[in-house]
Point group: C2
Chain length 359, copies 2
């Protein structure tokens, strides 16, 4: 049974993208693969707003989130946590045997630039991790304000996870001074999961060259060596790169500004719908994510019941809350190809069954 996915990733994938993904593969050392690589690369650089290379990693995003730590943390890393994924990054840093400290914020609160400033001013850290858009709570931190602080510390290499915000709003890597910017195929890029993208600054490359124990599979220097040949170090997930190539056609045909505006519009439509029902946004409104809405279940709805019925009756799915927020919150994604019309269809379907599940 297939559902139209409004969960915050993986999301709904278009027929066009599936078709592109299922085209015959080529050998990864053949000219045809390098041509494919060369087709996606400059467009990815535009989407990342960067002159740095964008590496293609055959992994989920956690692979390169871990890999980035192994590449750039020599002294110690400051892991900023304000939700399930960012909290876990601290755990992952320690599991890599790195010195790590946790700068903790309440779930649903943004990462606070002042607190970051204070922590970095100790001089203890040579790297920092921040999740721009905490998918678990639908909270989007102010990346411009955060990077303004981080830029004050030239020793600090910044690793910014934009997994669930990338391409839904402009995140200008070079202008902001982000060193390592990470995203995945299965969020706003609306491809199936299994491919991650990372753009790495010169500063981060230089740091990597000094760090022992980087390994091979996620080694920035290996990525760069093969990048220069329009290749990847290991056999890549070719089918997803073909899907991405097709998706980039879509994104450039729509235009970046139109795409950003559409995500904004979809997002506000859902948010207003939630407010009309008396649901409260889980994060503070000004830090509400532009790619999903995480609502508190303030009116006591049987969320699991609604989702089960929505699946059954309309073959659609949204999310019933992540981790410790399960049942207490719910999340509706508006990433990818959705339009105000398709979002409205979802909301109308929910409305048609919601009354049955109010406690």
């Amino acid at each position: 049974m297939a559902y139209k996915l409004f969960i915050p990733g993986p999301i709904n994938v278009s027929e066009k993208t599936y078709k592109a993904m299922a085209a015959p593969i080529m050998g990864h050392r053949m000219k045809e693969f390098s041509d494919l690589f060369a087709s996606v690369e400059p467009r990815l650089q535009q989407l990342f707003y960067t002159k740095d290379p964008v590496f293609l990693s055959t992994s989920s995003s956690w692979g390169i989130m871990e890999g980035a730590i192994r590449n750039v943390t020599k002294k110690a890393v400051l892991n900023c946590g304000n939700g399930s994924f960012s909290d876990k990054w601290f755990d992952v840093s320690k599991r890599c045997g790195k010195n790590a400290e946790f700068l903790q914020f309440e779930w649903g609160k943004p990462v606070d630039p002042e607190a970051v400033d204070k922590a970095l001013s100790t001089g203890k850290f040579d790297s920092i991790t921040i999740i721009h858009n905490e998918t678990s709570t639908g909270t989007m931190s102010d990346i411009a304000a955060l990077m303004q602080v981080v830029r004050k510390y030239p020793e600090v290499v910044s690793i910014i996870d934009t997994v669930s915000s990338f391409s839904a709003l402009p995140i200008k890597k070079d202008e902001l001074g982000i060193d390592v910017m990470v995203t995945g195929s299965q969020k706003a890029l609306a491809c199936p999961p299994g491919l991650s993208l990372l753009s790495v600054s010169d500063k981060a490359m230089k740091r990597a060259a000094e760090v022992e124990g980087r390994g091979y599979y996620f080694d920035f220097l290996e990525f760069k060596k093969f990048y220069d040949k329009n290749q990847t170090p290991s056999t890549p997930v070719i089918s997803l790169i073909m899907a991405l190539d097709s998706k980039l056609d879509d994104i450039f045909a729509e235009g970046f500004e139109n795409r950003y505006a559409r995500h904004q519009k979809n997002n506000q439509l859902v948010r207003q719908w939630g407010y009309n029902h008396g649901f409260k946004l889980f994060p503070e409104e000004k830090y509400g994510s532009v790619t999903l809405n995480c609502f508190e279940n303030t009116i006591g709805v049987d969320i699991a019941g609604v989702i089960a019925e929505l699946k059954k009756r309309y073959s659609m799915a949204f999310d019933g809350g992540y981790g410790k927020l399960k049942g207490k919150t719910f999340r509706i994604s508006n990433m990818g190809d959705e339009t105000p019309q398709t979002m409205q269809e979802l909301l109308d379907n929910i409305d048609s069954i919601l009354p049955e599940f109010k406690k």
Copy 2:
């Protein structure tokens, strides 16, 4: 331009498999994903001849080849090298910061059980890596003889790469006492690349629990925790798991023994063809791989010219030699869905252009 691939991976993928891959994805925490996982798992265990779990890793095989080292090497690893990939494993071990020693054999020679015995008898090692089938030279070591030696050393955790031999002949993991058995989707399993499979013994799991710095993404204990829920730790490459599910249908419909016999027959057909032309097999005949033939270019053919013409005229491709053997050897894969008829078609096509490229 798409070519029918007779390179030793990625190989030709059937229309049926592509179609299965392009089915709509589900959320990886949904019941529908766990159902998919539960559908592939017991069949993979049969193909691995194991009672141990088979983990699904969203990566190319190098990811888990590195990950396995990080999981099980505490004291030191013995890397047995007899070709490009196995040689590199030594380099990768060192890059992970592990104590590693290299047991080197000439390219095209098998890994020698006596030499392994001698090395392990020093007591220096708690882990060993062997590539069963060195794809770079088409050399298949005698895994039964090797494991007979390795089993004498209970402290030693064995990591066996069966990337390019798995499912083309029986490799009985439990019977042989293999601790970590690794393979990939894009070789004899005839799926696109991007998914790796590994089956891990209790002994290797216990070792992992004692080793620091395993990280998260390839951590055996994380794989196991989610395996018990029919899930994966991170968002998996769902589309390739759907492709694999479909391919397992094919494999079970054909029957293991028929599948093994077909690979054997295809392989001998190509080998005899090579001999008829006066090409010499690169490895000693008894160690020639069952999934590919690596021939020495003993009759001075312009291999690159043949391949270019074969692509142009017949939209087919084989390989012109790996790494330092480029031009000196060539490799023809017979993995996957090929039959004596389809292999003969390739050989006839080569024959039709070969005379033009003899020097």
